[in-house]
């Protein structure tokens, strides 16, 4: 595992420091930052790192463009939500929900791959977009099962709720309750899932993925069944997205189309991977952090900024908190302009030249 980390970590020292800071920042969030907002942002960040990294496994390592990735995230979340909606919340039920969610996801991914992986690029993208839209409609129609547009609110195992007290005393000013347990369950599960993906990428399997991303025919000419490899990558990617969805359902205690299935999520994940750097895996950490922080705090920051420059006519208009999406958009354009290979890609040495034969 250490070898895998050594082989895959970006060479740039500063990027390594930033990554370390983010990981430590998330792990020690309860002590470093006040309020449930920070805890919520950190937990979502961990989950989205897994989701974005799983998407990178697909987009960055095999060059397959899919718009159905949020679907697998949704399947994982709904599996847990439906299970806890129908049965008393317990870890046995959770396990069954995870297995069922993985099963459905893998089946859907396999069928989609079977139908469309032979046609790479734009056709596969269109098919996945269609499947994702169909799934969204399906979820809102199957009201009795999924709660429709309202989603499902459910109870989770008691040890993961704020009502559960592990210690009576605070530890360095932080209450050790079920909420904290839930937080660490999410964070450490995310770290483990991410490390497994690192291991996969550093394995001979990952090497073949990189090879066929670069040149499918050359990989075939060495004797690799590239279709089988691409299908396996699709399945793995779907599985990790499903598990991220499971964590999301546990953390939010609510699952609805907007929070786990919408096209917005898909676009967020795409942006995270592109901003962080495709095919780097670690880019997912940077991209997710940038996007989550921007989404959670940009509006507030702009409110502060407007207070400071309140009198300036046009500038204060531009800084109005309602305009935060405008600035988020500018941030994306700037990042794509200055880091076309993503932040991690930009700082990991010269880009390999395009291959054509």
């Amino acid at each position: 595992m250490l070898q895998a980390l050594r082989d895959t970590l970006p060479a740039n020292r500063w990027i390594r420091l930033v990554l370390l800071a983010i990981v430590l920042g998330v792990i020690f969030t309860p002590w470093l930052f006040d309020g449930t907002r920070a805890l919520d942002t950190a937990a979502r960040l961990s989950i989205f790192v897994v989701l974005a990294a799983s998407y990178d496994l697909l987009l960055g390592f095999t060059g397959v463009v899919s718009f159905a990735h949020a679907l697998f995230f949704g399947i994982g979340a709904y599996a847990v939500a439906i299970a806890f909606d129908h049965f008393a919340p317990g870890f046995g039920v959770l396990l069954v929900a995870i297995v069922a969610g993985l099963g459905v996801s893998l089946l859907v991914a396999f069928i989609m791959g079977l139908v469309s992986l032979r046609v790479k690029t734009i056709f596969y993208a269109m098919i996945t977009l269609a499947v994702a839209s169909a799934a969204t409609v399906l979820v809102s129609q199957l009201y009795h099962l999924t709660g429709g547009e309202d989603g499902l609110t459910y109870r989770i195992p008691k040890v993961l709720t704020p009502a559960f007290k592990l210690l009576d005393d605070k530890v360095f000013g932080v209450r050790v309750n079920g909420k904290l347990m839930n937080f660490y369950l999410v964070v450490f599960s995310s770290i483990v899932l991410f490390l497994i993906m690192v291991r996969i990428v550093a394995s001979p399997f990952g090497r073949v993925l990189k090879a066929l991303r670069e040149n499918d025919f050359r990989a075939q000419a060495i004797g690799y069944n590239t279709l089988a490899y691409r299908t396996t990558a699709t399945l793995l990617s779907a599985a990790f997205a499903t598990l991220a969805g499971v964590l999301m359902a546990l953390w939010l205690r609510y699952t609805g189309p907007e929070s786990v299935l919408s096209l917005d999520i898909m676009i967020d994940v795409l942006l995270m991977v592109v901003i962080g750097g495709m095919g780097t895996l670690y880019g997912a950490i940077i991209g997710a952090t940038v996007l989550m922080l921007a989404q959670s705090y940009l509006q507030g920051l702009m409110g502060n900024a407007q207070d400071v420059i309140g009198g300036v006519p046009i500038l204060s208009e531009l800084m109005a908190p309602d305009r935060w999406l405008l600035w988020l958009g500018l941030l994306f354009i700037a990042s794509v302009y200055f880091f076309p290979q993503g932040v991690v890609g930009r700082f990991s040495g010269p880009a390999p030249k395009e291959a054509t034969t």
Binding site: P204, K210, R213, F217, A219, A221, I222, T226, G349, P352
Partner: protein
Amino acid sequence: MSDQTMQLALRDVHTHVDGYHILQGVTFDVPRHQVTMLLGRNGVGKTSTMRTIMGLWPSSQGEIRLEGQPIHGLPTMQVARRGVSYVPENMGIFASLTVSENLRIASRSQGLGGERLDWILALFPALQTFWHWPAGNLSGGQKQMLAIARAVIEPCDLLLVDEPSKGLAPSIIEKLITAFRSLKDERTTILMVEQNMNMARQLGDHLVVMDDGRIVHEGSMADFAADPDRQSELLGLSMEAST
């Protein structure tokens, strides 16, 4: 020659690509343990022949036999698994993988290491120097050496090489010739497309000349090299002039 001495045999092979009739009945043999040179002007179908043998562009008609077994209609990976190694034009390397990863990915059966690797590194010492470099950062000559090394890291029954000397400096070409000589001494069967007449003459045993999607001459390289009239008739130039 009897079939036993033939590694590869093409019989009346036709290939259509995007509606164009590229190969129009290609028939020739690649004798075992020899270097066969496939010559011809640009655009006559040399690379298409290579691609058809590899199964990238499936033939529409005719027979391709490897060791007497038909391989036409097989997908590329199956052709590769039967022991055909291919060095495409413009170097068949993976630019984003390191030199060692490029070799490791090709050594499918037994992993990287041992005598075979020592032998290859002796052939191409530069590879050792840049062992952990991304292959995309190598020079043109080094990339070509890596491409050939990658193609022969697994013992192969037939090595297809498409214009290895293209775009390389004369001193590098000399090194390539030395390396191919060494492969020849190992009794590797090679089918090579080449425009560099010096290289073709130095390495070739057997010769096949193409024009307009057909074979117009097949014979020994020695005879061809000694016949300037034949050369100018078939290739529009003489070997002496191009050395």
